[in-house]
């Protein structure tokens, strides 16, 4: 099911022509309408007419989250407030919140891009979408909501919380699809179990999960426990919200990016230079069509790589491979780069362990220490100390082998690790607090 055949299957050459035209218009627009960008462009000695080919994007200045914070709330808007019909805001968990605005056309574009995503996931007319993303300032809830309507599906505006009730609604309303965070999907499966309901018997066929990083093995776990196809969706409020890219149900291999609206680059997070095609680096996005708050070369901090080989679903858009972590979530432990997802994969490959874990990083003297807390469950519980200790050693050995880091592994009681409603808190870095 392809929502916009013209743009989603456009020959690459034609797509690049369209991107260039849009990029030139964009630079012209921000130069004249956003004082922040005018100043940045002038500092670099760049005039809008200097952008002659797509590769020239690299001469444009980067935009970071801090720039949005510094211009809080409306400093980066390119239109007057009379033209803004909606505001959203990021949670601000890692600092001051950021605000984004949408014009009437932005809201429509967003709905249609999210509609593309849902169709790519196989969700369309006749489907009932249980939308468990939070409704409110967070872009997830409303983004998925309007997308579902654009895709012609029936939407249940559930929002977050009241998990037991959610299970009843999914069951009674015969929801065929669900949108939520991947950790909440697992929480739903667990809660269903507690209610004596086999989560596999729920009517759901497909799940669209995003808003937090997850791994391939977590996908397998969700698919097995809910008996659904689990797809990864990508988006960030600064760029638009959910709907920037999604995996297609056909290939389930990389997220098709809406390149007619977003110009993508992958750069070395330290030098800022582009990496070789297909190499891993930080994703940088330029919004080509956004009216209210267009951004040049936004640094997403997401580490990934782009794949441009044709996909069997027929779309010609580049695919972003699963996000491997955040350039700012990356832990450096005794000089070794460690991403939480790598630990998660190891846990899921260990028999019986659930992906409920927490990493505690500390420093003893001059040495960094890593403690991996893993929840116990009945499958692995043994009444003999040596059984549990050998499990701890097994995980410790795998971490050492695959990541080259010595970690202590500690079993903790179930639900000792905060999760469910929002994003699971995966990392506690005590080194920062000590500094």
């Amino acid at each position: 099911m392809i929502f916009d055949v013209e743009h989603e299957t456009m020959p690459r050459e034609e797509l690049e022509q369209l991107q260039l035209r849009r990029l030139q218009t964009l630079v012209e627009r921000v130069y004249h309408n956003v004082p922040f960008y005018k100043k940045r462009l002038e500092e670099k000695g760049i005039r809008p007419r200097d952008i002659q080919k797509l590769e020239d994007v690299r001469y444009l200045p980067f935009t970071g989250k801090q720039d949005l914070r510094n211009n809080y709330p409306y400093g980066l808007f390119a239109v007057s407030m009379e033209n803004i019909v909606r505001l959203h805001s990021s949670s601000g968990t890692t600092g001051k919140a950021t605000v984004v605005g949408y014009t009437h056309r932005d809201v429509r574009t967003w709905a249609s891009l999210m509609g593309r995503c849902l169709n790519a996931a196989g969700v369309g007319p006749g489907d009932i979408l249980h939308n468990a993303y939070g409704y409110g300032l967070f872009t997830g809830g409303l983004g998925a909501h309007y997308g579902a309507e654009a895709a012609g599906a029936t939407v249940i505006p559930m929002s977050g919380g009241a998990t037991r009730r959610q299970i009843m609604i999914i069951k009674d309303f015969m929801a065929t699809a669900i949108c939520c965070t991947p950790s909440y999907a697992l929480h739903l499966a667990e809660t269903a179990g507690e209610l004596g309901i086999d989560a596999r018997s729920l009517p759901l066929k497909v799940g669209i999960f995003g808003a937090e990083p997850w791994s391939e093995s977590m996908r397998k776990d969700i698919e097995a426990r809910l008996n659904i196809k689990a797809l990864d969706i990508y988006g960030l409020s600064e760029i638009m919200g959910p709907g920037v890219g999604i995996e297609c149900a056909e290939a389930q291999n990389g997220l098709h990016m809406q390149e007619d609206h977003f110009l993508l680059e992958v750069i070395d997070p330290v030098s800022g230079d582009p990496v070789a095609p297909g190499e891993m680096g930080e994703l940088v996005i330029t919004t080509l069509t956004k009216e209210a708050i267009p951004l040049l070369r936004y640094r997403t901090r997401d580490l990934t790589r782009l794949e441009s080989t044709p996909c069997r679903c027929g779309r010609t858009t580049a695919r972003m491979m699963r996000v491997q972590g955040r350039s700012d979530d990356m832990l450096i432990i005794r000089g070794v780069n460690v991403f939480p997802q790598q630990i998660e994969s190891i846990l899921l490959e260990t028999d019986g362990l659930a992906p409920h874990y927490q990493l505690v990083v500390d420093r003893k003297g001059t040495m960094d220490t890593l403690e991996v807390r893993v929840e116990i469950n009945e499958k692995i519980f043994s009444d003999e100390i040596k059984g549990l200790q050998s499990l701890e050693k097994k995980v410790q050995g795998a971490i050492k082998e695959f990541l080259g880091v010595t970690a202590t592994v500690k079993l903790v009681e179930p639900k000792g690790i905060e999760r469910s409603m929002g994003k699971a808190q995966r990392i506690i870095d005590l080194r920062k607090e000590a500094q």
Binding site: S382, E413, K415
Partner: protein, 143 residues
């Protein structure tokens, strides 16, 4: 002949053990025997209780991870060499004791010891053959 033992995973932090005993007290379950094995970060509490199912259901509802293990309760002569005789019999047949602990009450004039063997069924056969007194679960729960 086997006895159901309840095993509970406990994080090593203050007050956690008391939470278990509080739950059992509130549900009216009596503890018949117990042993606590621990490491620096977790412990395993092993209990023989008056009502296994009731205790297990309630502890699970309160979020504890619990397991069931089959153990053997044996009368042991309360005199020098009493335990040694039994261990010698087991050793001769290469049956290992994973762990053991003493029962709170006495049965007649003998001590009662709870054993966890690596091969429970063979151990029971062997003990019976040697005319040792095994206390069945039902009797033990109500002592």
């Amino acid at each position: 002949m086997k006895v159901d033992q309840l095993s509970i995973f406990l994080e090593n932090r203050a007050g956690r053990l008391a939470e278990v005993t509080k739950i059992l007290s509130d549900t009216g379950v009596n503890i018949r025997a117990l042993s606590l094995a621990d490491t620096s970060d977790f412990g395993i509490l092993r209990l023989i209780v008056s009502d296994f199912e009731k205790a297990r259901t309630e502890l699970k509802n309160q979020g504890f991870t619990v397991g069931r293990t089959s153990v053997v309760a044996l009368e042991v002569d309360d005199q020098p060499g009493g335990l040694n005789n039994i261990l010698a019999i087991l050793q001769a047949e290469n049956i290992n004791v994973e762990y053991m602990y003493a029962f709170v009450h006495q049965s007649s004039n003998n001590a009662v010891i709870i054993f966890r063997f690596d091969r429970t069924d063979q151990a029971i056969e062997l003990l019976k053959k040697n005319n040792l007194t095994i206390i069945p679960g039902q009797k033990l729960y109500s002592i």
